[in-house]
Symmetry: D2
Subunit: 167 residues, 4 copies
């Protein structure tokens, strides 16, 4: 019964990501971007495998469901003020999105912190689209969550590799 | 202009707490409960003063607004499944409430961790009422947030005191 | 080669724990103490199995080695002032021991926070002996690390169980 | 008496930084580098003022003293194996340095995470020198600590500013 419940949660978290336009492949490309210089034989398939494992963690699923829920409610204008405006404009002093991202990162330890911060600033690949405010979509939480999953997958890859890059 | 905006956010965070039945005095009593054995001359007024300072921090206000918003939406049944059920029953494997609590605690450093965990388990004072599921109210986030504010105020008190208890 | 290196680190972390008087059984008893009321069929052997899994995580090994190293150097008086005195007396405003404990806890998510704080305050079993200052030993880091491993094992147990306690 | 004790700790933390070749000005330049595009009228003097405030926080001082102590002991070869080798080569899977950095960052909330990760990857200014392994010096902890202080100062600046950049 528990197993079934967990599967529902993982299935839903993956559906919600897809529904917001984020494919496993998109996240894996961020991980590849982060790690290819350290691991010359790295393939996108390796990265996909690590992203899949990150997505199987309950803390990660909790973060995905909570963050996307808040993004959706923001788009529909269903939050109360002043929260509605803060999330709508992704206000710089609002940090609960980073807090949720950190809870995802921490599952694979602190070594992902640098990678997370780096791609959050550089906005490669899917992160660029998620930050495009011109679409009318709200991805205040999702962009941080996607960056955190990609950085967590990079940490997992480093933990399971034969090569240990210096930090 | 910025000052005005900050004041709106602090005012709203305090209003939302009151609206959910949590007075500054209630939180100060938790802090008093945590610290009176270390500081024999401690008064409730001292604790109120420290709780007020904790409430003036923007990170704390962000946590209050986000957590109470999610509790309210849960009560109204406005969240999507499976999140609605997870928050409704305060599910044990859902930890985003603790994640938000930790972001409040961290503003006054790691020394508040023990106090937070202790009152979250013991549920003294207002925390007992917030955990009473028989009322039909949902305080999945709020009980953790109130415990974290009380523990953060205890840390602030220790940082500003003449007496340094051993940890 | 990597596998071999990891094994050395895990082996050493376990040796250092034993050398400081902490057996896997001691930690498992803390986990049992935390969880037996939620899981009536729980055995010490179950708890040992979860503690073993926690000890296999690299972040946990890093925390054990770093914390015990600092405790040892403190006992030998080899740290520079004012750090030597701060660690010697386990000063209340020094929180790096809790910071390291948190990095261990986070590997199994935020749901262990409450359990960690609770046993850190209550000091059952081995934690009572580690906090006995009359022995001349210094366990400023180790007591927090042992509590965090026990709480992480309790989280792991909850994640892998058929029964989901409310948080 | 407490006031005096705190001053000793702050004074020592500042002395240790200087002794390791890190001036307040060096850290302020990192903060300036991070924030100048958001705040066109920003001066180095503004940044120095915020770095000074960050250095006045006890958690930050604890992190500085603990990290530099471990770096010094590593240089002298006084740590036990395998920790000595892990810190000597700044091993990629050792994350306690990032854990300590995070405890510094968290004092000013989660909004500094991105800035920390960014400069830790880019290594501008003083961070480039601290990462130069050819000198024989060991700065495994110090480089992360300096980056975290600079990012915390950037967060403090944003919290106290009239202009709110989007995150």
């Amino acid at each position: 019964m528990k197993q079934k419940q967990l599967n529902v949660i993982e299935t839903k978290a993956r559906e919600w990501l897809l529904d917001r336009g984020v494919k496993v492949q998109d996240i894996a490309e961020l991980t590849y971007h982060l790690q290819r210089s350290y691991f010359p034989h790295l393939t996108i398939e390796d990265c996909i495998r690590h992203v899949e494992k990150v997505l199987s963690k309950r803390e990660v699923q909790n973060g995905i469901l909570t963050g996307i829920q808040l993004d959706r409610l923001t788009e529909k204008g269903l939050l109360d003020e002043p929260l509605q405006s803060m999330l709508k404009k992704d206000e710089g002093l609002y940090g609960i999105d980073e807090v949720v991202a950190l809870s995802i990162l921490n599952v694979y330890g602190s070594i992902g912190l640098t990678n997370y911060g780096y791609i959050d600033k550089q906005k490669p690949g899917i992160l660029s689209r998620l930050n495009d405010k011109s679409t009318g979509d709200c991805h205040t939480f999702l962009d941080d969550i996607v960056g955190a999953i990609a950085a967590a997958a990079a940490s997992r890859l480093a933990h399971n590799s034969d090569v240990t890059p210096t930090s």
